[in-house]
């Protein structure tokens, strides 16, 4: 019996030493960053100490900027203006797999200077003091951003985020199998069993249900959430799979495994470009639309370089690459106004003046909604 005895003694010692270690580290470590809720006060103090971005010549700007982004967005095309303007500064990237992942990384102590969340997921950063206020006077390209986009990054009367990319969410369908789609409820149509694909996301599911049933997305009641859970639980077997990464969806639609799916228009434009017979529906309930923004992490020592990076993000060449190579909309209004390519015009519905009127913008989630809706979604998946 003795080996077991000595082992448990060892465990007790280990546990004790860890408790001591944690206790010792606790106060010291927590004293260091202190992202307090007094956001407004601290930002106004730091501002004057930073020299205006225009004073240093671009070629003398050095340093490395760490960007927390989505994989794929590290491509140079997406920050070509920064690279060309500041030859002696560099940008490196770390990746998040979802908005929640990016939020978790910022909370968890990521050292990224700049991060890239999307509409719906912005309020937490401001409320919890995780994001630096943007000094728009340092952004030479700020004027090309339409007011409606600027407003998306404003909280409590201050600009916290710089809008950058945008797009629609709707139903993408193979026209050779399903010629027309006029409602989001195609996702629940049993005759397309095994040929549908929903995005693997709780808030996304709540959004679709809200459109179909006319719920107020910002005030979902417990009963409504129960109904939503029930209908997606019934829907689950109809999916070929829930898609998580866009390339998986694109591949499945190309091969004909999936005929109709919840999708972003990047997938639509890619498939269109490859000659696959697809259409992007204008559901009677309206499309969804989202905007991606960049924020500067509270406490970063690279506030100046971060502003320069965000300014360059709004540059002409970067915006054109985003539109032409990746089929996403840009917050640079000049670039959007100059689009002439037919595929792109279709992707953005540029010639359809009514499209924006019938679009549902993504509202900001509260922490409670985020938690409840994601928990609902795991229950849907777990009940299979």
């Amino acid at each position: 019996m003795h080996p077991r005895r000595s082992l448990s003694l060892m465990h007790a010692l280990v546990a004790l030493s860890i408790v001591a270690l944690v206790a010792a580290c606790g106060p010291g470590a927590s004293a260091a960053p202190t992202p307090g809720p007094t956001t407004a006060a601290t930002t106004s103090v730091t501002e004057p100490t930073e020299p205006p971005a225009t004073q240093t010549p671009p070629e003398e700007v050095t340093g490395d900027l760490l960007v927390l982004d989505w994989s794929g967005y590290d491509a140079e095309d997406f920050w070509i203006d920064f690279k060309n303007t500041y030859p002696n500064a560099t940008a490196s990237f770390e990746f998040g797999t979802s908005d929640a992942d990016i939020y978790g990384k910022i909370v968890g102590g990521s050292q990224a200077d700049v991060f890239h969340p999307y509409t719906g997921w912005l309020q937490f950063y401001v409320d919890e003091g995780l994001v630096e206020e943007i000094d728009t006077s340092r952004l030479a390209n700020w004027d090309v951003v339409p007011e409606s986009f600027k407003a998306l990054g404003q909280f409590n009367g201050k600009q916290y985020f710089v809008p950058w990319d945008w797009g629609f969410t709707s139903i993408l369908h193979r026209t050779d199998h399903i010629p027309t789609v006029d409602s989001w409820d195609i996702l629940f149509d049993t005759q397309y069993e095994n040929r549908l694909s929903m995005w693997d996301d709780g808030p996304g599911a709540v959004t679709v249900s809200s459109y179909i049933h006319g719920y107020d997305e910002t005030a979902i009641t417990d009963e409504q959430l129960e109904a939503i859970k029930a209908e997606w639980t019934a829907q689950a077997p109809l999916n070929r799979f829930y898609w998580a990464a866009e390339p998986d969806l694109i591949q499945a639609m190309q091969s004909g495994e999936v005929w109709a799916a919840y999708a972003w228009q990047g997938a639509y434009a890619t498939l269109l470009g490859e000659g696959v017979p697809v259409a992007y529906a204008n559901p009677q309930e309206g499309r969804n639309s989202w905007v991606g923004v960049y924020g500067i992490r509270k406490g970063t020592p690279n506030v100046d370089l971060a502003h320069r990076f965000l300014d360059a993000k709004l540059g002409q060449a970067t915006g054109e690459n985003l539109v032409n190579l990746y089929y996403y909309g840009t917050a640079n209004g000049d670039v959007m106004a100059a689009i002439s390519d037919v595929t792109l015009k279709e992707a953005f519905s540029i010639d359809d003046p009514a499209i924006l009127e019938s679009t549902n913008f993504t509202p900001n989630l509260t922490a409670e909604q985020r938690d409840a809706w994601t928990a609902m979604w795991t229950e849907v998946k777990a009940s299979q």
Partner: protein
């Protein structure tokens, strides 16, 4: 001889029959020799292992344990918080998560059983029949590890997909008219893929156990007129039991919390418990609830393993 210490570890001065480090060691410590050099070497050599175990497994686990009582993720991660049992309450009240834990445990047990069963003949062949080529075969067995886990799972997608190898072969042979959808994106696909992935892993501990068997025991058994079947059942299998148990546990324990494979080949109906945990960490930014779910899985798995070993008592089962 279970329970007896190896001869070399018994200090010469200890009176006959006493354990080298009796349970009451603490009380008698002053009268003993300061430190056996062999034990000192043991502790010195195991220090790096302890350091890694502590810093990379024990501390993060304790951190996660603490996190599971945290109300939410707001604020500094190391800042003090008011502990709450809300997350555990939510887990306990959600029937579908428990159901999923049960299903995942069942899947893990099936995967571990089949992988161990398939791995045993493989290991047996390598240990006793492969002869001079054993090394080569072992390398062949391990070749899949030269590529990433993800690639191997993706390869199964190519095998099982609508336009995959199996479907195209069957269509070519005229067995089917339309591709079979049922091959991929369900629970069976997850189980099949996991079994494949684990077989080489399961082979190694069994091989190690078989390698320690004195081949003369087989000769002795044969001399006593044991049939090959009796040799296997009465000599080889009992001696291989530690390896078989290690293989089963090595597959079972990580498979309960598996999440990558179901993500790739499970589709909307092949979710496992690990995916729920993953969702709370990566999709909901709800680390506390994810931690509570993880802790429950950890406890359930540990309890199951302990109960399993007690109930089954592998040695007695084989009449040793």
């Amino acid at each position: 001889m279970p329970g007896r210490p190896p001869a070399g570890a018994v200090p010469e001065t200890v009176t006959a029959g006493a354990d080298p480090i009796p349970a009451t060691a603490a009380g008698r410590a002053p009268s003993r020799r300061p430190l056996n050099p062999r034990r000192a070497t043991f502790w010195a050599l195991s220090l790096p292992a302890w350091a890694i175990l502590l810093s990379l497994i024990v501390v993060p686990l304790l951190f996660m344990f603490g996190l599971s009582f945290r109300p939410d993720l707001r604020g500094d991660l190391l800042a003090p918080f008011n502990p709450t049992l809300d997350h555990y309450r939510q887990v306990v009240e959600t029937a579908s998560w428990w159901r999923q834990l049960g299903l995942s445990t069942l899947m893990a047990a099936i995967v571990a059983l089949v992988a161990t069963a398939v791995a045993f003949p493989l290991a047996y062949f390598l240990a006793f029949r492969a002869g001079r080529r054993a090394g080569l075969y072992l390398i062949l067995l391990l070749v899949p590890f030269w590529t990433s886990y993800l690639l191997r799972v993706m390869a199964w997608k190519l095998m099982l997909g609508t336009e995959g190898v199996i479907n195209s072969s069957l269509a070519f042979l005229g067995v089917i008219d339309a591709p079979l959808d049922a091959l991929l994106y369900n629970r069976n696909a997850v189980v099949i893929t996991l079994i494949y992935v684990w077989i080489p892993f399961a082979t190694l501990p069994i091989l190690a156990a078989l390698g320690r068997i004195d081949v003369r025991l087989h000769d002795a058994a044969a001399d006593l007129y044991a049939s090959p079947w009796q040799q296997l059942r009465r000599v080889t299998l009992p001696l291989a039991i530690p390896g078989l148990a290690a293989a089963f546990l090595m597959v079972f324990i990580p498979t309960v919390g598996e999440y990558v494979t179901p993500l790739l080949v499970g589709g909307s109906g092949g979710t496992m418990y690990g995916n729920i945990i993953q969702d709370f960490f990566l999709r909901a930014a709800n680390w506390p609830l994810g931690s509570a779910l993880s802790m429950i899985m950890l406890v359930v798995t540990m309890v199951l393993v302990v109960i399993g070993l007690r109930v089954v008592q592998p040695r007695r089962l084989l009449g040793v």
